[in-house]
Subunit: 432 residues, 2 copies
């Protein structure tokens, strides 16, 4: 049996998962890869830290150079996360001809270009399945299984924390704060939950997926982003009346070379498969012009699911003959030039909830402004507010229009004396 030395950069959640899998599935890894895999060093910040797993102390080092300068180490598993020094370490390791497996979505979404290029220049393999949607093989799916397709649309639930929160709000009637607290208690949300609940995590992931699907560089800032902090229980209830549920959806559409990318709370039909993705599960639906609808569903986070992606990536490197220098596996992201569409150019249906004074003529005033901007309404519901009988909720659902039309309409509606507040504006996706 051939032997191979690898090193881990980092021993947090994902690192622990990788270690556990390499131990518990030792025979699988050996037979599938053809190699006996030996973790020879692990870079950590604090050697003394209690980690809840049984890793021999002598493997741990706080000195990156111990790993960099060890020529027997052929594969680097980067699971430390963050921008620096992860980026610098990977670049240096590649310069020493070490293949890379990484789970680092932030780095890939922002500096992927430099990393891909270095791997390509050096003829190395650079694997990153774990960077998006944990154990779901969506990267492999796009990079290998869908290459015959023009990807037309992607819709993803790619943040488990927010999906868990929205699930609790939908099924158990919790409000956002209660559901967030529950997610924190379960360990699904961080103490500072900003990255998840404000949609940054999903934004990074969507930038990576779009870049791969369209073979083009994607600036993470061209992905429009809204989090779920403004989702109210009352909107979930109204959604239900329209046969819809609310999900934090990552959406990409290529409309004749103009690509829109956005992450925001979205009302989707209850009978759509994505509507039934609950708890911390992830799911991604891809529409290819040949394959049609293709959906992946699974665990988007967690030690073992993410570790599964990392270790499988490592096996892929080993199967491709780790000692060869002749690879063509690095994805090129300079195949196409795409134009990215600003959120104002997006077309969608909209759900709008407005608090108005309960007086004659208000409905007419409001709806006539929609008319002025050429927006057709699909439904209008007037709800009596519990808070005050002098104010009512006006819920409107539009037909498809441009976001710019909605922005202008809302501006004008705000000017009306009878309008107290625009309580909610949410995009609706019918997958038509």
């Amino acid at each position: 049996m051939k032997k191979i030395n690898i090193a881990l950069l980092g021993l947090g959640n994902v690192g622990r998962g990788v270690w556990t899998i390499l131990k518990s599935n030792r025979e699988e890894v050996m037979k599938r890869s053809g190699y006996e895999v030996n973790v020879s060093k692990i870079l950590v910040r604090d050697i003394g830290k209690e980690r809840g797993i049984n890793v021999p102390k002598e493997l741990l080092t706080t000195d990156f150079n111990d790993i960099l300068k060890d020529d027997s180490i052929k594969i680097i598993i980067e699971v430390m996360g963050g921008m620096e020094p992860a980026r610098e370490y990977m670049i240096k390791c590649m310069e020493k001809r070490k293949h890379i497996v990484t789970a680092n979505k932030m780095l890939l979404a922002t500096e992927g270009d430099e990393l891909f290029k270095k791997a390509d220049d050096m003829g190395l393999m650079f694997q990153y399945e774990a960077s998006v949607a944990g154990g779901i093989p969506i990267i492999q799916g796009i990079n290998e299984s869908l290459t015959a397709n023009k990807v037309e649309e992607m819709y993803g639930i790619i943040n488990g924390t927010t999906n868990y929160i929205l699930t609790k709000m939908e099924l158990e009637g919790l409000n956002f704060e209660e559901a967030l607290k529950g997610a924190q208690d379960m360990g699904y949300a961080e103490v500072d939950p900003t990255s998840d609940i404000e949609g940054y995590d999903a934004q990074y992931k969507l930038a990576i997926l779009s870049s791969l699907a369209f073979g083009t560089k994607v600036d993470v800032n061209s992905v429009y982003r809204e989090g779920i902090t403004s989702v109210k229980s009352i909107d979930i209830k109204y959604a239900k009346e329209f046969g819809k549920v609310i999900k934090l959806l990552a959406i990409v559409k290529d409309r004749n070379g103009k690509v829109e990318m956005r992450v925001h709370p979205t009302m989707i039909p209850k009978n759509h498969p994505l509507a039934n993705v609950y708890d911390s599960f992830n799911s991604i639906l891809i529409k290819g012009n040949a394959v049609g609808d293709l959906m992946f569903y699974g665990r988007g986070a967690g030690e073992l699911p993410t570790g599964s992606a990392v270790v499988s990536d490592m096996i892929t490197i080993l199967k491709n003959d780790v000692n060869s220098e002749n690879y063509n596996h690095v994805v090129k992201n300079n195949l196409w030039d795409k134009k990215f569409r600003d959120i104002r150019g997006v077309e969608s249906k909209y759900y709008i909830r407005i608090r108005v004074l309960d007086m004659p003529g208000v409905l007419g005033e409001v709806t006539s402004i929609f008319g002025e901007y050429d927006i057709s309404l699909g439904a209008v519901i007037q709800k009596i507010s519990k808070k005050s009988e002098k104010e009512v909720d006006l819920v409107l659902v539009t037909h498809t229009c441009r976001e710019a039309q909605i922005i202008n309409t809302i501006d004008d509606i705000y000017e009306l004396k009878s309008v107290k507040k625009i309580k909610s504006i949410m995009r609706i996706e019918d997958f038509e």
Copy 2:
């Protein structure tokens, strides 16, 4: 731009899809693969046949040697199907150092061993994503993305025709014959539908998936098989009363190295994702010991979805440098020795519908036999038959027991004078 010549063996449904994709997605294929792909010959039986697509006549040949002896042809796309001469042609082409892409499930399920070995010996790539579940990348998923896992269970809806029929029966109340007729009218079922409705198609596919998931040779005959011809509308109705639906499920479970493989109509909970896979869609749920639950969903058949898998496979070959002779991509199916469990050793819950005479004591007689064989009952319903008031339907649902216990029980129940007929025995899967 590098150029590559390929040839198609066959120009039926899948062949047409491949041709169409190579034309319509020419730019995608070129950029993703780095090659300009030229179809230089297509083997057909009848050059004059009208095919509904615009293929230049001069590409067509009825002589396999035109392709075999053309050394400029580096990749063979085998989409003729069937056992011979497809097997012979692929072997001969590999001896001439041509890489293979095939969609041939029957051949892979029965002679995959010989084909894999030949590819391995010759250092060639042998791709077969299209052989199972059309456009769904389940082969790649198992072979590349889940290699870090012990696969513990797989559950698949992998035959679109039967799923279409069962969908019509469930949602529109059609009986089997009506639904089959509809499937034939829609082109989903063949004039001779045996391979689909008797479960042979799913049996082949499950044999392939099991072989890959367990890295072992699988005799297709060790896959237990029942079709859907015995599924009655009344059983679908009763299933509904228990909160279940009926699907033709392909099931694999590895229980400590003892593997059971079976294809049969199965009652599954209505709220399970697989229960909501409708029409001709396919879906496969895999449980890995690291990744947890992972599900794939998409089009399991059709020109373009299957063509998508074939063309993506071809691109994978091109990306791996078609001229290299250094591959390690062929899956080994001799990694593990597995014991296969006979259907009598399977453990399951069962749904049993018995027609009995409506007389006192019958229920006691029947249920006491279950007791004799140590089978606990979860539910018993006595239904008045419409046909005759002297006979009633007795519907029983067991707790988990061995199939052997059920077989013995049924044998004894048949002996009872009060029992007219065992109308239905169906396995229940709760995914617990």
